[in-house]
């Protein structure tokens, strides 16, 4: 169980400061930043992190830091302000380019400071254009996971001071020129006013010339990716977040997963929705819907089985929408990214990495690992490595030789949203 390497993201003093956030504010306030795992992307050479605006690149083979945008200085910054929005920081790697939705580290936690989109060279960290410096883009508070596609990058945003109005943007990848913007709708609860709840960050999926955007707040909007015209939209049940914070209010458990497209069927479960929807995107029409827990998230599809995660791993038959099996796992963070392989389901929890048999949900193995003081988080595979990314560290474990490595899941040709 010795890792190949481990990269500790936070100093022990910073980790302690993170755990104590909220105590200084009284009434047992809960901040999402205390359980966040950083936005992460991988290519064949490096792991990239966007940790609250600090960008880092770690060598996949050795675990050494290759470059960083600035020295991490978080302890006091996170204590001073409360509008951290950890869920709004994102990172995607496409070719030799990193795309990040991020905010100047000097503005960490400050209310009203917008997020930007920018590009960086993945090998060196050299910054390219940034929306902060582009006239047409300065008015936008960018959100969601950027979706690079060819010579464009798609993202969502709201205008500064109009946080409830959600827009989709198409930008020219080379220079950030705004190609089009389309207003998608209006949030009933302004996400820019949420500090004690995870705010909804739209998921984007591109397929067949269509851009599918799940607001995670009650609407799926489908646009023509070329010109930005709205094709159709679907409103779904989604609970209203409570922006108040009451004394001793229990912290909610919130997860978020992108929609899944298999053929012409789109499976959708919004962040605050307690319904799973199956849509025929060709018609378009609703095929079926069924109740699920609000705290659950879509993970993947394997043949006729849809897998969910959260504080329970669930397997749902797509044939009759009946629950096949359920396996409750320890939960510490809603920043989850489980791993599906040909016959296994892996989830990184505060008690270690659970390996479940996909046929029946039985725990085949509990691998304690080397990050047991974390809350759990995300799992990735790259070449011969299994990587776990938590609120405290990135840890790489060797997967052994090709014969013993878990076989990648091939049964579902699902397009996964971002």
């Amino acid at each position: 169980e010795t890792p190949a390497w481990q990269f500790r993201i936070l100093l022990p003093s910073d980790a302690k400061a993170f755990a104590q956030i909220g105590m200084n504010w009284g009434w047992n306030a809960h901040f999402p930043v205390t359980e966040m795992a950083p936005a992460t992307a991988l290519d064949g050479e490096r792991v990239y992190l966007n940790y609250l605006g600090y960008l880092l690149a770690i060598d996949l083979k050795t675990g050494k830091l290759q470059w960083r945008s600035a020295r991490l200085d978080l302890g006091q910054k996170v204590q001073q302000n409360q509008y951290h929005y950890p869920e709004q920081y994102n990172i995607v790697v496409a070719g030799d380019t990193l795309w990040c939705v991020t905010r100047d580290v000097a503005h960490l936690g400050q209310h009203g400071q917008p997020f930007r989109i920018g590009r960086w060279e993945s090998a060196t960290g050299k910054p390219g254009w940034n929306s902060q410096n582009i006239g047409d883009l300065q008015q936008w508070n960018v959100m969601g996971v950027p979706l690079p596609a060819g010579d464009r990058v798609y993202v969502t945003a709201a205008k500064n001071g109009q946080g409830a109005e959600l827009h989709a943007l198409a930008l020219q990848a080379s220079d950030g020129k705004l190609l089009w913007s389309t207003q998608l709708g209006t949030h009933q609860a302004d996400p820019t006013q949420m500090w004690n709840r995870r705010s909804p960050q739209p998921s984007l999926l591109l397929s067949g010339g269509k851009l599918y955007i799940d607001s995670h707040a009650g609407a799926l909007v489908v646009l023509d990716a070329g010109g930005g015209a709205i094709d159709w939209a679907f409103a779904y049940d989604s609970s209203m977040p409570d922006n108040n914070n009451w004394y001793n209010q229990p912290a909610g458990f919130t997860t978020a997963g992108p929609p899944l497209l298999v053929g012409n069927t789109l499976y959708l479960k919004g962040m605050r929705s307690d319904r799973l929807y199956a849509l025929d995107v060709a018609a378009p029409k609703l095929l079926w819907k069924r109740p699920v827990s609000e705290s659950t998230m879509l993970v993947g599809i394997d043949g006729d089985t849809l897998y969910f995660s959260g504080d329970e791993v669930l397997a749902l038959s797509l044939t009759d929408q009946k629950l096949k099996w359920a396996s409750r796992l320890p939960s510490g963070t809603g920043w989850l990214k489980p791993l599906l392989t040909a016959d296994r389901f892996y989830q990184f929890t505060s008690r270690g990495i659970f390996e479940l048999d996909k046929r029946n949900g039985d725990t085949v193995r509990l691998f304690r690992g080397s990050d047991l003081d974390s809350l759990g988080g995300m799992l990735f595979t790259a070449a011969d490595r299994l990587l776990s990314v938590s609120n405290l560290a990135v840890t790489a474990y060797s997967l052994g030789d090709a014969k013993t490595r878990p076989e990648a899941d091939k049964s579902a040709a699902a397009t996964v949203g971002k």
């Binding site: 409570d242 307690d274 009946k322 629950l323």
Partner: protein, 271 residues
């Protein structure tokens, strides 16, 4: 913000109820039956020989079919997990089954919850060296936490642990014996003061717990909006730590008050 001031304003009311239900009965008028009525207290101690963990297997969902699947899966996995430990002195008891349909902040629509309380009992712990006991406790607690099986506190991962006497009857009998002896001693003292002598016991009443305080507890918990913990089964003797557990018994005994031999002979002479 919760109404803290309101809660504090209600405290005097709670105390009044406490006095009404707990203290006043102590000053209840003594019975006026003849004889001497005394209360004797006895104590016996015993070391726990069992270790208990309270866990739970539950399934909750908006659809009752989902809740049933989740419940059965959970019960199977929790049971299998503890049986796989291969601890010969481990016993898994299935206890209460509860079914509810409630909405809460996490689930705004009512969810059916099916829950089975489970008790893991490890017997004969008094025969184990401390290191072995700790190792065994570690295995059980790790398993409970890996299964997120903590009773009513699953999200926090806490597991309720306590030590218990497997068979409390013997130690309770010893405490009763001592309580009766204490009552007799007190009765003899009072009889002497009265110039008589102690006769036989006419009635014995176990007054070890004159009130369960249930009504007062219910009131106080209701004020704070908390859930009253489930009462311990009667007769069980438990402790939060591994130490000799005192078992205390109080007996109210009414003895005959007889004439002393001197009084008896004086009466004969007067006649």
């Amino acid at each position: 913000m919760a109404s803290l001031p309101t809660a504090f304003r209600l405290l005097p009311f709670a105390f009044c109820l406490y006095f009404a239900f707990c203290v006043l009965p102590l000053f209840a008028a003594a019975d006026d039956e003849p004889g001497i009525t005394v209360t004797g207290a006895g104590e016996a101690r015993a070391r726990p020989d069992c270790l208990e963990f309270d866990v739970q297997a539950a399934g909750a969902a908006e659809l009752s079919g989902d809740a049933i699947v989740k419940f059965h899966e959970r019960l199977r996995r929790v049971t299998d997990a503890f049986q796989k430990l291969g601890i010969s002195q481990l016993r898994l008891e299935e206890r209460d089954l509860s079914i509810s349909d409630v909405a809460n902040e996490q689930n705004p629509r009512p969810h059916v919850t099916i829950a089975r309380a489970l008790r893991i009992v490890i017997t004969d712990i008094h025969k184990l060296p401390e290191d072995d006991l700790l190792s065994l406790v570690g295995k059980v607690m790790d398993t409970a936490k890996d299964m997120s099986a903590g009773s009513e506190q699953a999200q926090q991962g806490a597991v309720a642990v306590r030590f218990a006497l497997g068979d409390p009857k013997a130690v309770r009998a010893e405490a009763c014996k001592r309580a009766f002896a204490d009552a007799r001693e007190e009765g003899q003292r009072l009889a002497q003061l009265a110039g008589g002598r102690l006769g036989r016991a006419l009635s014995v009443q176990d007054v070890s717990s004159t009130t369960t305080n249930t009504t007062v507890q219910e009131t106080i918990y209701a004020i704070y909006g908390a859930q009253l913990p489930q009462p311990e089964e009667p007769g069980r003797i438990v402790s939060n730590s591994l130490k000799d557990i005192p078992v205390r018994v109080s007996l109210r005994v009414r003895f005959e008050l007889l004439e002393s031999p001197d009084q008896a002979s004086k009466t004969v002479v007067e006649k």
